[in-house]
Amino acid sequence: MGDQPIRVVIVDDEPLVRHGLRGILESEPGITVVAEGEDGAEAVGLARRHTPDVICLDVRMPGIDGIRATERVLTLDPAPRVLVITTFDSDSYVLDALRAGASGFVLKRSSPEAIITAVRTVAAGSHLVFPEAVRDLARQHLRPVSYDGPGLTERELEVLGLLAQGRSNPEIAQSLFLGVETVRTHVSRLLAKLGARDRTQAVVIAYQTGLVPLG
């Protein structure tokens, strides 16, 4: 992203939520809210028109909900990263949205700093947002499926396990005594093998297939 501000679109059917979210994000230097929308149908148009870096999508909305909106927004080129915003962390919709390719989620009741961090993290694409929460969600709502994709090497499995803990590339490099470049290669090969568009989706798949135990 460099010095360019992170450009954000907010989509939520509740005006007071949009207003609060905008207030929080605008208070942060380096983040600009470029547009607001009130439902999933609007989300796609706004993403196309404004090409934001991040789109904050409410998961439950009348009409087109956050999951379908996530799918549609991600077909755009360039596609923004999707940050799902939700009222409850036990919401099964959130996991569906993550499987649909959302990069992370944030609770509406989180502190402003946590929300800002989530937006920055999703924009940078280098971390998993709320690794514990993703695991809890997976434990509650995921139906296990068997993995039938290309085989993973020992090293790739190790990297995947650390990804699931929410580690960044440099952190993984440090704990495996590897170069950051090597880790980056492993991660992109992992994403390709799992058919995941980003780390979050890779971790959801890893939990669902048991490649990483939910324990």
């Binding site: 609060g20 979210l21 905008r22 929080i24 208070s27 009348p62 009222t87 509406k108 009741r109 989180s110």
Partner: protein
């Protein structure tokens, strides 16, 4: 056996009363009336008794306590339909006939026993009108007399037992719930389950969202304070938080009152009033805050024509009703803001000594019956009905109208 006999005899006693009544009615009119006329009249009286209010309940209680029918196999439906009434009448008639028969059998058992007793104690001829029987003279005669007495008693016992069993077996057919009743029970259960689901969704959508929005607004306020404090913007934020908190409390209040299954939340009964000067009373906003609600919607761009009661009048409304009325208006305006088409929303609230009348009309862009607005409305309707009020929702020609009337019980507190 004893209980069933008691049940039958109760019918017999009633039957005796009606037989006397029937003969008393028929004698002066037609002294030479045939037996058939008498039987028809008596049957009409005996069956007709089953149509009297309360008889069904008595019969059901009797069948459960004395006949020992399985629980739930007989019932007093609410409301009673004709299908229930004529079955009750038929049951009452059969009960009395069987009861009369039981009574006669007991008398028939008693007579030979009494005769034997008289003879044993040394009595002589027993005279019944038109008939007389002398005491047994030989051992053979004595044996015969005892045998007849025992035989009569056994036959009576067998018949009464059979009558009791037949009554117990047929009670569910005549006093039991009909197919429609069972359907009603199932529908009620289903409605209760749906209610629970709706309630949890209401809590999620209502309280959950309000609290989330509060959290966001408070966070935003704090950030603004740390950066470039703008008193006007901060005041706005605080006002929003205040309203959201009130909304959340009102929603919680509603949910809890539904959960308790009782109409009115306990704190409301205590009739707490907001402290003078505070805009928000315990348990949510009330009618005195309507003007503010209207202003708030205007400031968000809703075009509103409001006719509200003066503060001195709305302060007189009991707080339970007052808060419910506020929620009705709040929900209607929220609906208008969310689903309404551009145009003026008309709000009229009138407080008369007997009730609070609310009338909200707005233009709508939704097709009749469409959409999700119904959930809030269903909650509203439930609340209105709990307070014995009436609510009608109408949609036609692009207009949406909500009319609610909440009775205040004519009581005005000074």
């Amino acid at each position: 056996m004893v209980r069933r006999t008691v049940f039958l005899l109760a019918g017999g006693a009633v039957a005796a009363a009606f037989l006397i009544l029937a003969s008393a009615l028929i004698a002066p009119v037609d002294p030479g009336a045939t037996l058939l006329v008498f039987v028809v009249l008596a049957s009409l009286l005996m069956g007709g008794a089953g149509l009297l209010p309360g008889v069904r309940e008595v019969q059901v209680a009797g069948a459960e306590a004395l006949l020992g029918v399985p629980e739930g196999s007989v019932s007093s439906p609410e409301p009673m339909r004709w299908a229930h009434r004529w079955r009750t009448a038929l049951w009452t008639l059969v009960h009395q006939v069987a009861g009369a028969l039981t009574g006669l059998l007991l008398v028939a058992t008693g007579l030979p026993v009494a005769a034997l007793a008289v003879w044993v104690l040394g009595g002589d001829e027993i005279e019944v009108p038109g008939w007389s029987v002398g005491p047994p003279r030989s051992v053979g005669d004595w044996s015969l007399a005892v045998l007849v007495t025992v035989a009569v008693a056994l036959v009576a016992l067998a018949v009464i037992t059979a009558l009791g069993s037949a009554a117990a077996a047929s009670a569910p057919a005549l006093l039991g719930p009909l197919g429609q009743d069972r359907l009603q029970v199932i529908e009620q259960r289903l409605a209760r389950e749906q209610e629970a689901v709706r309630l949890s969704r209401d809590l999620h959508d209502g309280v959950g969202h309000s609290l989330s929005a509060i959290s966001l607004q408070a966070g935003a306020g704090r950030r603004v304070l740390a950066g470039h404090p703008d008193p006007a913007a901060l005041a706005d934020t605080l006002r929003t938080i205040e309203d959201l908190a009130g909304r959340a409390v009102a929603e919680l209040d509603h949910a809890l009152s539904v959960l308790r299954g009782e109409a009115v939340p306990a704190d409301a009964v205590r009739e707490r009033r907001p402290v003078t000067g505070s805009r928000q009373g315990v348990g949510g906003a009330d009618l005195t805050q309507l003007a503010h609600l209207v202003e708030e919607h205007r400031s968000r761009g809703l075009e509103l024509a409001a006719e509200l009661p003066p503060g001195s009048v709305s302060e007189q409304v009991p707080s339970v009703i007052s808060r419910a009325a506020y929620r009705v208006v709040a929900e209607a305006l929220a609906n208008a803001a969310k689903h309404g088409a551009p145009g003026t929303v008309r709000v009229q609230v009138q407080c008369s000594p007997g009730d609070v009348a609310i009338d909200v009309v707005n233009r709508t862009r939704r097709a009749p019956g469409a959409g999700t607005g119904g959930r809030g409305l269903a909650g509203l309707r439930e609340q209105v009905e709990l307070l014995d009020g009436e609510m009608t929702v109408g949609r036609d020609e692009g207009q949406w109208q909500l009319r609610v009337s909440l009775p205040t019980g004519g009581r005005r507190r000074g």
